[in-house]
């Protein structure tokens, strides 16, 4: 297992996305809009999804929060944009298993996202890292219901 120091995690990955978040802002038109928060810290997220023929055609987010929640969500949008709903769900489940310490995280499949594993050492912050992903899972389910 790769050992990532907290400082390296912040400096190499988190801060880049925190300062320059990808896919941030409203998405119009959208098929799904979800607002969720982390009651522990007051972090809030709005997630916008647009589907096209079983694919996640576009995704964006807005909100305020700590660097880990915002960076993780920013990375997520980059990763899942253009994937099929099924693929997006698989990536999300894989991230959740990695953050639960159940698997190591496959660098080939997850790319930069494996660096989020550094957060596992700080159990309280895992919720921050998963806020966007858990919201995405709900949004994928809602999108499927709508198109069914």
């Amino acid at each position: 297992m790769v050992r990532v120091s907290l400082e390296d995690l912040y400096k190499e990955v988190i801060l880049d996305h925190y300062r320059d978040p990808r896919n941030k802002g409203r998405l119009d038109p959208h098929d799904v809009l979800l607002e969720r928060n982390n009651p522990l810290c007051g972090d809030e997220i709005e997630l916008f999804l647009k589907f096209d023929d079983g694919e996640l055609e576009a995704i964006s987010f807005d909100g305020k929060g700590c660097s880990i929640s915002l960076a993780s969500t920013s990375m997520m949008t980059e990763k899942v944009k253009g994937l099929s709903v099924e693929q997006a769900r698989e990536v999300t489940e894989s991230i959740k298993r990695m953050m639960a310490g159940e698997e190591d995280g496959d660098p080939d499949a997850l790319g930069d996202l494996v660096s989020l594993k550094g957060v596992v050492k700080y159990p309280v912050r895992i919720k921050c890292a998963l806020l966007g992903w858990n919201t995405l899972l709900e949004g994928l389910a809602e999108g499927q219901e709508d198109s069914a």
Binding site: L6, E7, Y10, K11, L15, L40, C41, G42, D43, E44, K64, G65, C66, S67, I68, Y122, V124, R125, C128
Partner: protein
């Protein structure tokens, strides 16, 4: 009349441990305090030499247990200036104490159209019970606003205390802003319209010397675990005549006088409110915590915390932190909420943790207050008898480090 915090620190075994391999800098006592050896040993002694159930067995050991438990009640009465131990109900803590009032006095006395007044700075434990009561009864819950200096808007009191006000429930000291509230002034206004006053002293009891008679409180709640005692113990103080009138809370053993198949009569106060076997060792530990604090002297505790708070406010201002609440030390205790531009408090807390520093980050169970302050969260350092200026220095260095990461 003062003490040396570095000597006091030696009473607390936890400081023999390390945090992330460094000297433990514990700045989260507003959340829960650490426990001195004197309290831990008293609990151990109870289990080793006095353990039996109280009030109901007719043998020497039970008499010893009862004496220890009732001795703790007397200490808890003395600590807040209550003349009678009959006014002291042992509970699980402040939250339970407040909920006892919700389920007993308030259910009998608060009706549709009545008003319950709290303040904008209350902890959720002094907010949610009243939201629930309002929902059940059709009463209105109102919130006395605070000013930008973090102090209650007493000038608005006339508009907020009306003929419909039945209960005013407010904290003596804020867990976020550290503000010490002018409870007596509020109590006088409340009593003028016949309302009762409940004081949440969870934050005040560990740090301030006060007297329920000077406050003119009808009810007052405080917890053991924030004042050097164990978790699972707390006090509900009530004026004797009010406790006498109130219906019981939990039903069960100990709280009864006589029981038939279909009805029962109630035990005298405070036992009417103590159904089941109480948290005996915890109550005894709470009594030991009172004695520990009395030995230090509550005036000396306050003096020490004012010095430390002054130093912390000065150093935090020096690194450009935004500080919430009053700067007037006579109006505030040793709870300091702050933010640093560009660093989310959660990130700050994780980063200073690397230096062995424990601070709280988040909404501090006061989400409406966070909205009033216009922030999603703050960082919070809170001081107690075992903290030193060195602790503040380590905090400042660690906070500056977190700033460096985000620069």
């Amino acid at each position: 009349m003062s003490f040396d915090p570095s000597v006091v620190r030696k009473d607390f075994p936890i400081f023999e441990t390390e945090a992330r391999g460094k000297r433990l800098v514990y700045l989260d006592s507003a959340n829960t305090s650490q426990k001195p050896r004197q309290v831990l040993e008293r609990i151990q002694l109870f289990y080793e030499t006095e353990n039996a159930n109280v009030h109901r067995a007719v043998y020497e050991l039970s008499e010893k247990a009862t004496a220890a438990y009732e001795g703790a009640r007397a200490a808890c009465a003395r600590f807040i200036g209550s003349e009678s131990a009959r006014s002291i109900v042992f509970t699980r803590g402040t939250t339970e104490s407040i909920n006892v009032i919700r389920f007993t006095w308030a259910r009998e006395n608060v009706r549709e159209g009545d008003e319950v007044l709290i303040t904008e700075m209350e902890h959720h434990s002094n907010l949610i019970p009243w939201q629930l009561l309002a929902g059940e009864t059709g009463a209105t819950l109102r919130h006395l606003p605070i000013g930008d200096d973090g102090r209650l808007r007493l000038d608005l009191l006339e508009d907020y205390i009306t003929d419909r006000t039945k209960l005013v429930s407010l904290s003596l000291m804020s867990n976020v802003l550290g503000t010490i509230n002018p409870v007596r002034a509020v109590a006088d206004a409340a009593h003028a319209v016949g309302a009762k006053v409940l004081v949440d002293a969870a934050q005040a009891a560990p740090h301030l010397s006060f007297d329920v008679n000077d406050l003119d409180a009808d009810f007052l709640a405080y917890s053991s675990h924030k004042m050097c005692g164990p978790t699972g113990a707390g006090v509900l103080y009530g004026r004797e005549e009010l406790l006498e009138e109130m219906p019981p809370f939990h039903g069960g053993g100990e709280m009864i006088r006589e029981v038939w198949a279909d009805r029962a009569t109630w035990n005298e106060i405070p036992y009417k409110f103590e159904a089941g076997t109480p948290n005996l060792a915890q109550a005894v530990g709470m009594g030991a915590a009172v004695e520990y604090l009395e030995t230090l002297g509550m005036d000396a505790v306050r003096e020490h915390e004012m010095e430390l708070t002054a130093y912390a406010l000065e150093r935090l201002a020096g690194i450009g932190a935004t500080i919430y609440g009053s700067r007037d030390l006579s109006q505030r205790g040793g709870v300091v909420s702050f933010n640093l531009d560009g660093v989310h408090p959660h990130d700050m807390s994780t980063i200073v943790d690397q230096e062995g520093v424990c601070i709280r980050a988040g909404h501090h169970c006061a989400q409406p207050l966070m909205r009033r302050l216009g922030v999603p969260a703050t960082a919070r350092a809170s001081f107690y008898i075992y903290n030193t200026t060195e602790d503040v220095d380590v905090l400042i260095d660690a906070v500056e480090k977190s700033k460096g990461w985000f620069a």
